[in-house]
Assembly symmetry: C2
Homo-oligomer: 241 residues x 2
DNA sequence: AAAGCTAATTTTGCATTCAATTATAAATGG
DNA sequence: CCATTTATAATTGAATGCAAAATTAGCTTT
């Protein structure tokens, strides 16, 4: 194994090297640790590494062009976020989530969105509501035109806007962490296979908007949790096919 | 072994050095990083360091008898948990939480407990319910006897048992993190100053138990969130005195 | 030739070292 | 005497070095 010249890279890791130039343009903005952390997290969240794949330190160091110290710090943080497993003396692996784990994460996401809805009802400004309402109508348009991709995007944006409207940074951070873990599962990919579920999801979103408008916190909380539960069930069915 | 002679310690940090011998007896159990992480987290959570206190690396290293590498790793993780702030080139400080931050954390805790209650209703065994019911009666006894300390302990145990009964490890972990951040505020310390609130809290716990028995998930979810809200209000009032 | 054992290589965990930034002290000028 | 500047010390961020553990390769023994 010749390690003096650039090695033939593991395919799955090849792209890590690509983006640094752009990030490097702004050189001393963040610490090396933060940069490595953000990039590695994105890379894992975006699903570029297969479940359980080994993450050899030395290789990643050459990819990122840093020493082992900041990389190891980033790995510890990612482990605490649940994205990687750290095996003693055996290195880091991308955490392999089983169906059971996804079920748990979905439920937590549902709980966090339920909370977000409740808080949004309490503190949301009229402008924030109007923004969500506009997004809802936009999303409905995509539904009518059967534009799944844009539907999905605006759907996600609505959910994020509700979380933002809660105005709770601790919640926002946790939501991002959980959403990141789940994102590795492209759960709604073949929602179109289930036309029934799509229509149902739209109806649920109408109920969400209605409760938001009436600022009915407890009710919205319940609707949002159940909405996420239905999403989860649909995801499980579509995966098992 | 490593610390043959004991250095002059900073007063506020002196106790950190105490427990290592016991932990050291079992040498290769955990990595140095994990040990330092756990001990430093406990130390901060238990409120031994004042808000905003500087955490000089070198000093802590001598306290723990480790080099800067594992300590810095632990600090990065604690920063991601929100327990410390990391100022670039300026070291770590115990994160100073303002009233606003506590309000946010309380709401998140309420949201997580609301979720826990809902999930517990779905999956809890009869034995688990019985255990909670027993704890509830025990707690009621402490209330009648005005034993605030034991009341508080069993109260906390009930809430933890509900979270455990949810059977969701992701939730359990997040709950622990949030509870840790809040624990630095001894919020219920002078609950006894408010006899009204104490009676009210007990009544709320009766409603919690009732909803649990009926496995009324959505209802319990709502009750638990509001219970935490009331706790929060009581805490704020008692602090402002 | 396969299974088991031993030696070499690699990889990890942690300590140490070095450079860069910040804090502190001294000195100079107004 | 105080403010500003300069020099020194301390602290942080990151790279390198080293010992222990683990993985791999090679060898022995059937």
């Amino acid at each position: 194994m010749s390690d003096t010249k650039i090695l033939p890279l593991n395919d799955s890791l090849a792209e890590i090297t690509a983006p640094p130039a752009a990030t490097r343009a702004e050189p001393s903005k963040a610490s090396l640790h933060d940069e490595v952390l953000a990039r590695l997290r994105d890379y894992i969240v975006e699903g570029n590494l297969s479940d359980g794949a080994r993450i050899p330190e030395r290789e990643l160091c050459t990819q990122f062009g840093v020493s082992r110290t900041p990389l190891r710090e980033a790995l510890k943080v990612l482990a605490s976020e649940g994205l990687v497993d750290l095996l003693p003396n055996r290195g880091a692996r991308v955490r392999a989530l089983r169906a059971e784990d996804y079920k748990e994460l979905f439920d937590v996401m549902g709980g966090l969105e339920a909370l977000a809805g409740r808080l949004a009802c309490e503190s949301m400004s009229q402008a924030q509501y109007a923004e969500i309402e506009a997004l809802h109508h936009e999303m409905y348009g995509f539904y009518l035109r059967r534009d799944l991709h844009e539907y999905f995007r605006s759907n996600q944006e609505i959910h994020q806007k509700i979380v933002d409207a809660a105005g709770n940074r601790a919640l926002t951070g946790m939501y991002a962490t959980v959403a990141g873990q789940i994102r590795r599962l492209r759960y709604a990919a073949n929602l179109d296979a289930k036309r029934d579920r799509w229509a149902e999801a739209v109806r649920e979103h109408e109920a969400i908007l209605d409760a938001l408008r009436r600022r009915a916190g407890a009710e919205l909380s319940d609707i949002l949790f159940k909405h996420l539960r239905n999403k989860q069930i649909a995801a499980r069915e579509s995966v098992s096919e």
